[in-house]
Amino acid sequence: MKIDFKHQMAAHCENGVIANLLRFYGIELSEAMVFGIGSGIFFTYLPFIKMGDAPVFAFRPLPGYIFNKATKSLGVTIHTEKFRNPARAMESLDRNLEKGIPTGMVVGVFFLPYFPPQYRFHFNAHNIVAFGKEDGRYLISDPVMEGPETLGYDELLKVRYAKGIAQPKGKMYYITNVPDKIDIREAILNGMKRSVLYMVRLPGPVIGVTGMKYLGTHLKRWPEKYGDKKAARYLGQIVRMQEEIGTGGAGFRFLYAAFLQEAAQLLQIEALDSLSVKMTATGDKWRDFAVAAGRLCKGREQTESYEKTGDILIEIAAEEKEIFQTLGEIVRKAKK
């Protein structure tokens, strides 16, 4: 059987899956909107935790966060399930598909056959939607792919039970109830408020704009601390988190700017429009940072330009601080 599910490509898998699922139930929201309502913009630098032989850099909150916040804010009810027994996980999916419910799943990408080989690392928080089964193959809508794909029973089982960090354990989810009326204004403002909290209000040196500044200063010492090769690899890791699959460019900054622009129109707040322009400008600076980092990675320049690269980040941190503080004021005024 095949559910009449419209696949639409997105920059990021999590936003894309939510937007696609919501559209199936008649809620038309863009990817950027989902991202903003789910407070997807984030930054953290955790030098003391090493993952895959590099410190942790993240431009997004933990996987599943955007999903939870977005659906909760919109008042959509989601049923989530994990299974100890793989066979039961697949049976449950089959039953869902028979009932005509498009079902989201968390999978690992390493064994995902249609995924391009250059992106296949052991990453276990990818989201896909199954929307049918034909000739024993599951029809899959993966938001980062241009069109729908198919997976065999064994292939799907293997990726649903990927091992390693953050195992999906056959996790699947589907929408059970959609409210008649959505308070989009409230959802947007709450999403913004949470983002302001994470970007500028939280204390401590590792989260939000302070994290960027911290990374900027820390990064200048990398060559002497870790040696050129390791420093270049760490720098490369930041750029990978920033630009690799699913950020829409510049570590979600453009996606967030798109959200601000849409919100400006929906809420009739002009100040948001100018914030969007500013956000785009910092996004462009993140791209400059990536260019500089790419050059250092290639080993084209001497170590002293780590100084300059770090300075770009410190500059961005100052600009984003201003943006999110202004955003905080706008939200406060709008909520009155």
């Binding site: 829409g248 849409e262 996004g283």
Partner: protein
């Protein structure tokens, strides 16, 4: 980023071309999406990450050739797996996976266990598991 600034570089850097969605502003300042085939700094850092992994696999290959490690060790490294990840996929305990990295222990492994390892790496026969790639 404007629409015409969305990079379309290094399309043939990897074996499979892949487009990602990027957000950019059009002439009226409105955001829209553009598919991008690749960007040079991104290619560089991705290549860098793969070089790092390939280097680890190459070191493993040398160890196998010198008889210090079993071919299983090479295949694990090649698939970017460590002992615990491999233990997760096979259901063996981590200590035994570590033991199987030892060539002497590996040689005595039952066909059944070898089959399990071969299945994880997607090999059709056990033979493939016993061989290692000859370097370039």
């Amino acid at each position: 980023m404007k629409i015409d600034e969305v990079p379309q570089e290094d399309a043939e850097a990897f074996e499979k071309e892949f487009k990602v969605l990027q957000y950019a502003v059009d002439d009226n300042g409105r955001f829209t999406t553009v598919k991008s085939v690749g960007w040079n700094p991104k290619t560089v850092v991705m290549q860098n990450a793969w070089d790092f992994e390939n280097e680890k696999a190459e070191i493993a290959r040398q160890l196998v050739l010198r008889g210090k490690k079993s071919p299983l060790y090479y295949h694990a490294r090649k698939n970017m797996m460590n002992s615990s990840l491999l233990a997760g996929y096979t259901g063996f305990c981590r200590i035994s996976v570590l033991l199987h990295f030892n060539p002497k222990v590996f040689r005595r492994l039952s066909q059944n266990k070898l089959q399990k390892y071969a299945a994880v790496f997607g090999f059709e026969s056990v033979e493939q598991l016993l061989k290692i790639d000859s370097g370039e």
